[in-house]
């Protein structure tokens, strides 16, 4: 035995960053399964393309930065980014959209800022928003969920899907407006009439065809991560809570001016994906417990504002998260916890000598 000198502690908790990321990946599976069920093989193609390109970009940059490639790939953070990006993009979107998105996420939003842990913005959301602004047409053409398909129509075959993705061969009649679009465009009908008229609503059970199940899938995954203590409840729960409260305030008893019920908002679009997989991204969020509550609540609020009064974008998650990423250091500044033995929290810029008073 060589008497080595290692600093304390000499024992470690079980979970490592790589394991943490793998848990996150496992937790996306229910949601991904629902997506594949409702939107077909296109989701899978998205996932495969995004994973390959993200990992490839990550490896490339690591090589360029003369870092051990395997060591850094092992933390699986690129894979998590790839999955979050893939499920945000419309199925059957062109392949270059995914590759461009992966480039934005890994190279621009993550590695150029210094890599893992140094990115001020959520990489997947940066890529999503960049693509949304640059290619609005491709980004807003969402496939029709299987629940809405008319009789005789089936989900695209694998070959058709590949043709669509790589050669742009159109698939007839296989695109429709999402429930969020319908809700935003509605100004004449009361909600009951809207629900009765639109198949997107009447083929669903409580919030809209397909999406309600996708959201449920991500909710289950999120609860699993909470149970595994991968993150704390503060940010996601406060986001969902604030979204619920705001939508309840403006529900207006389902009149034609209503922007939808709380249930509708919780289970449509990317609400649950955002709450449990994007808002909880630790790197770009606020640090302290109070900070995370404020951070989550503000994201919920901004999501509702964009969904209801925003112009033309299908969902507000990406913008809301990026806006609050900007605000995170500011929130941190005002939410430093009170340290043991101090009468009040000290601000980060407070250079006074230690206060010991009570």
């Amino acid at each position: 035995m060589a008497l080595i000198n290692i600093t304390s502690p000499h024992t470690r908790g079980a979970i490592s960053t790589g394991e943490l990321m793998r848990l996150v990946i496992y937790a996306t599976l229910p949601g991904i399964a629902a997506l594949i069920y409702f939107f077909g093989v296109g989701v899978l193609i998205n996932l495969v393309l995004a994973c390959i390109s993200c990992v490839a970009f990550e490896a490339l940059v690591m090589k360029l930065r003369h870092r051990p490639v395997n060591f850094y790939l092992k933390d699986c953070s690129a894979l998590v980014t790839a999955i979050l990006l893939a499920v945000s993009l419309p199925p059957y979107c062109p392949w270059w959209l995914i590759v461009a998105g992966s480039f934005c996420a890994i190279v621009l939003a993550k590695q150029l800022y210094g890599g893992m842990g140094f990115n001020p913005f959520n990489p997947a959301m940066v890529a999503y928003v960049l693509l949304l602004i640059s290619f609005p047409l491709q980004m807003t053409t969402w496939a029709t969920p299987s629940a809405m398909l008319i009789d005789g129509q089936t989900l695209p075959s694998f070959v058709a899907a590949l043709e669509k993705v790589f050669f742009g061969t159109q698939i007839d009649g296989y695109a429709s407006a999402t429930v969020l679009d319908l809700m935003k465009q509605n100004s004449a009908l009361v909600l009951d009439e809207l629900y009765a008229k639109e198949s997107a609503f009447n083929t669903g059970v409580w919030a809209g065809a397909g999406w309600e199940w996708v959201n449920l899938g991500f909710l289950i995954g999120g609860l699993f991560l909470l149970y595994k203590k991968v993150f704390t409840w503060h940010a996601p729960i406060s986001m969902l809570l604030s979204l619920t409260i705001v939508s309840a305030i403006f529900y207006d008893a389902g009149s034609s001016q209503s922007s939808g019920s709380p249930l509708f908002h919780l289970f449509s679009g990317a609400t649950m994906l955002g709450a449990f997989f994007i808002v909880t991204d630790p790197v770009s969020s606020a640090v302290s417990v109070r900070g995370r509550i404020i951070y989550g609540a503000l994201i919920g609020l901004v999501i509702y504002v964009i969904r209801t009064w925003g112009t033309g974008y299908p969902d507000g998650i990406g913008f809301a998260v990026l806006l609050l990423n900007f605000a995170a250091p500011f929130i941190d500044y005002y939410t430093t916890p009170r340290t043991y033995g101090h009468s009040k929290p000290r601000r980060a810029t407070d250079s006074k000598p230690r206060d010991g008073g009570h």
Partner: protein, 767 residues
């Protein structure tokens, strides 16, 4: 009993695998004496003790071998009887692998104790006596820090202690030393608690805090409390509190919070909030020191880890080499990944095994690589915030880490780095396995180093600045003195000139402030200056007169008179030339007045002639005469000096002292000369010696007032006296006015004015 006691929940904290059972299988064991004991002198917090034995001395078990250096230190004793074979630097158990002065004892296997002073009625003893016993026994905190117990148990009079906390938490994994101690020696613990309570004036709350993973210890302590109640009613006041196991609840700050809900303000001691916290082993050691007079020479240490064949608690003599201890426990060096002193959370790896067991060695952990694997390489921080969740001090460890990497010491300070207790909970949970605590330790060290350096540089800068200031001040003072001297000399000259000018009316004292009055018109000034010149000429003529018309009757003193006259002439000439210069200057300044009267009218050859005459006269002198002449000249100088003193007095000059000193010196010289004259057989008193300053000044005035005196010759004595009285009264009047003015202006020379007034009053009375 316990269920009713409120406890507070520690924020943060972790639940590492406890690993406490393996060392609790066997009771406390003992080792045979090692071949050598190495007893370091710095086993406690504070100054190292200084040795009181010499190499070669035979020492008995429990004998003092090194005495505490001041209050904040602890005595050190021989752990067994034997011979001191060396007092030298030895390896000590420290993370840095440093050495420290230690006493090496070779045991003689006799275990021969010194005489111990027992004490049964300690609860009736004075507290200071008991504290002395604890101090003498060298008891220091055995929980980890080694704080001298006698110091801890003597809080300041301003710190009112209402709570005594006995720390039996032992939250570190693996360590069971306190656990087994409470199980086996609970009765001693309760005696110790009662003793401590007595020393602390019986605080209202006495709480023994034990984590709920030690049911046997809790039961044993509770039973001991019940037994103690039968003999001592105060024991009923002891509350045994068990609380949920959570690391690091055994930290003093944490335990106090859990048991009382009070937080120790940052930078303060627990005594400031009325709480004293003592470890269970320390309590027992203190009790044994009082009850049996036993010094602290052994302690219970947990010997644990898969690399040992036998894991158990041992009572080890302080100074026992650790390699000996491990070897006795069947240490397998091949299987061990490292040897840790302390627990896995806060302990440190030993860089060498030839180090002794000391007062704070609560555990020796020799794990295998499988048991405690080496840490993974650190990855990037993903800001997951797990560290902030587990921090018992509510710090933001990831921010601290960020600033520690950037060496941003100001931010570290404002993020309360110094409130970190280095418990290691943050590192434990870090998924990126970043050695956070080590970053904080390093940052703390750097900040302390910076502070020391800053203090040092501040001090030297201050020294330099003080020196510069002092030199500048000295220079300025010198300059001011020089200027003052110059000014005084000028004014004295001016005054003299005025006096000379006023020679026909000698009783008049010229007020220097009036002379220098600036509000005179140019014409008046010119007239005045011209008057001055005229007066000076007059004085010169007057002075020259006796030289020409010498009195033939008084031959023996002709020479002296000549001298006197020469001096007087010279002075008058100086005055004249000065007055003329002033006039010329004035005229030059005011060219509108073209008139240039009486310039260069001075008889230039006169002083030269006088000097030649004087020199010639001197050359012809006999030694006696020479001495006499010297005396004469000295007396003249004395007169002048006294005049100057007078002038300085009247104007309150700052160099009055210097002038007086000069006068005194002259007087001394005169006395010397007189003495030498006496040797030559001449009575100096025959010479017209004027040694008394008052008299000489008056005589001078009288001499100068010759003209007036002649005018007064016809007057009767009474009339003369009346005249003098009047003049004195005038002077007194003026002096009083000046004093009043000076007082009104808060002048620095008030005292001088006052004394001159007093003198004048005395004079007047004397008439």
């Amino acid at each position: 009993m316990t269920s009713l006691i409120p406890i507070w929940e520690l924020p943060g904290g972790i639940h590492p695998t406890e690993n406490k059972t393996q060392s609790l299988q066997l009771p406390i064991g003992y080792l045979p004496l090692p071949p050598q004991l190495v007893i370091p002198l710095n086993q406690h917090l504070g100054k190292p003790a200084h040795p009181v034995v010499q190499p070669g001395d035979r020492v008995l078990k429990g004998q003092l071998i090194a005495a505490a250096e001041g209050t904040f230190s602890a005595n050190t004793h021989a752990s067994t009887s034997g011979t001191v074979i060396a007092i030298a630097d030895q390896n000590i158990p420290h993370a840095s692998g440093m050495t420290a002065e230690s006493i090496v004892i070779e045991p003689d296997q006799k275990e021969e104790w010194i005489n111990l002073e027992t004490c049964e009625d300690y609860l009736q003893q004075d507290r200071l006596v008991l504290l002395d016993k604890i101090r003498a026994a060298g008891v220091a905190g055995m929980g980890g820090a080694g704080f001298p117990t006698a110091v801890k148990l003597a809080p300041k009079s301003t710190q009112v202690i209402d709570t005594l906390v006995i720390n039996g938490a032992e939250c570190e994994p693996y360590i069971t030393a306190d656990d087994i101690l409470m199980q086996e020696r609970a009765d001693q613990l309760i005696e110790g608690v009662l003793l401590t309570s007595h020393i602390l004036h019986h605080p209202k709350n006495i709480l023994i805090g034990i984590e709920d993973n030690k049911p046997k210890a809790i039961a044993a302590v509770k039973a001991a409390v019940e037994i103690a109640q039968q003999t001592n009613p105060e024991a009923a006041n002891i509350k045994v509190v068990s609380f949920p196991t959570k690391y690091p609840s055994g930290g003093a700050k944490q335990l106090i919070y859990i048991l009382t809900g009070r937080e120790i303000p940052s930078g303060h001691h627990s005594a400031d909030i009325g709480v004293i916290c003592v470890n269970v082993a320390t309590t027992i050691a203190a009790w044994r020191a009082v009850r049996f007079g036993e010094p602290l020479i052994s302690r219970i240490t947990t010997l644990v880890g898969e690399a040992l064949s036998e894991q158990r608690n041992m009572e080890l003599l302080l100074g026992t080499p650790i390699d000996y201890v491990l070897q006795q426990q069947g240490f397998d060096a091949k299987r061990a990944s490292r040897v840790i002193m302390g627990g896995p959370m806060m302990g440190f790896t030993l860089p060498a095994l030839n180090v002794p067991v000391i007062k704070t060695t609560n555990c020796l952990l020799a794990p295998t690589a499988k048991e405690l694997p080496l840490p993974d390489p650190a990855q990037a921080c993903i800001r997951c915030g797990l560290c902030a969740e587990v921090c018992p001090a509510n710090l933001l460890p990831q921010q601290l880490f960020w600033y520690a990497q950037a060496e941003d010491f100001d931010r570290l300070e404002s993020h309360n780095l110094f409130d970190c207790i280095e418990c290691g909970a943050c590192s434990y949970v870090c998924p990126s396995s970043i050695p956070l605590v080590q970053y904080y330790r390093a940052a703390k060290g750097s900040i302390r180093q910076h502070l020391i350096e800053k203090e040092k540089s501040d001090r030297s800068r201050q020294r330099f600045e003080f020196r510069k200031e002092r030199l500048a001040k000295e220079e300025a003072e010198k300059e001011a003195k020089r200027l003052a001297r110059q000014k005084a000399a000028e004014e004295a000259k001016k005054q003299l000139a005025d006096k000379q000018a006023a020679a026909p009316v000698p009783a008049q004292i010229v007020d220097p402030t009036k002379v220098a009055a600036p509000e005179l018109s140019p014409d008046e000034q010119k007239a005045k200056l011209e008057r001055l010149v005229a007066a000076a000429k007059n004085a010169l003529e007057f002075a020259q007169k006796p030289l020409v018309s010498r009195d033939p009757k008084n031959k023996p003193i002709t020479e002296e008179q000549l001298e006197k006259q020469a001096a007087r002439i010279k002075q008058a000439e100086l005055k004249l030339s000065e007055a003329e210069n002033k006039l010329a200057e004035f005229l030059a300044q005011a060219p509108a007045q073209a008139a240039t009267p009486t310039t260069s009218a001075a008889p230039a050859d006169d002083p030269v002639a006088a000097a030649i005459a004087r020199a010639q006269a001197k050359m012809n002198l006999s030694p006696t005469d020479k001495l006499k002449a010297d005396l004469e000249s000295l007396q003249t100088r004395l007169q002048k000096a006294q005049e100057k003193v007078e002038a300085a007095k009247t104007e309150g000059s700052s160099n009055l002292d210097a002038l007086q000193q000069g006068a005194e010196k002259l007087q001394q010289k005169i006395e010397q000369t007189i003495a030498s004259l006496k040797e030559l057989g001449i009575d100096a008193s025959a010479a017209p010696v004027v040694s008394e300053p008052e008299k000489s000044a008056a005589e001078l005035a009288i001499e100068k007032a010759k003209a007036k005196a002649a005018a007064l010759a016809t007057m009767s004595d009474d009339e003369k006296r009346a005249e003098q009285r009047k003049s004195l009264e005038d002077r007194l009047q003026k002096a009083r006015e000046r004093l009043v003015k000076a007082e009104a202006e808060n002048d620095a020379n008030v005292e001088v004015f006052r004394s001159s007034v007093e003198k004048l009053e005395i004079k007047l009375k004397g008439m």
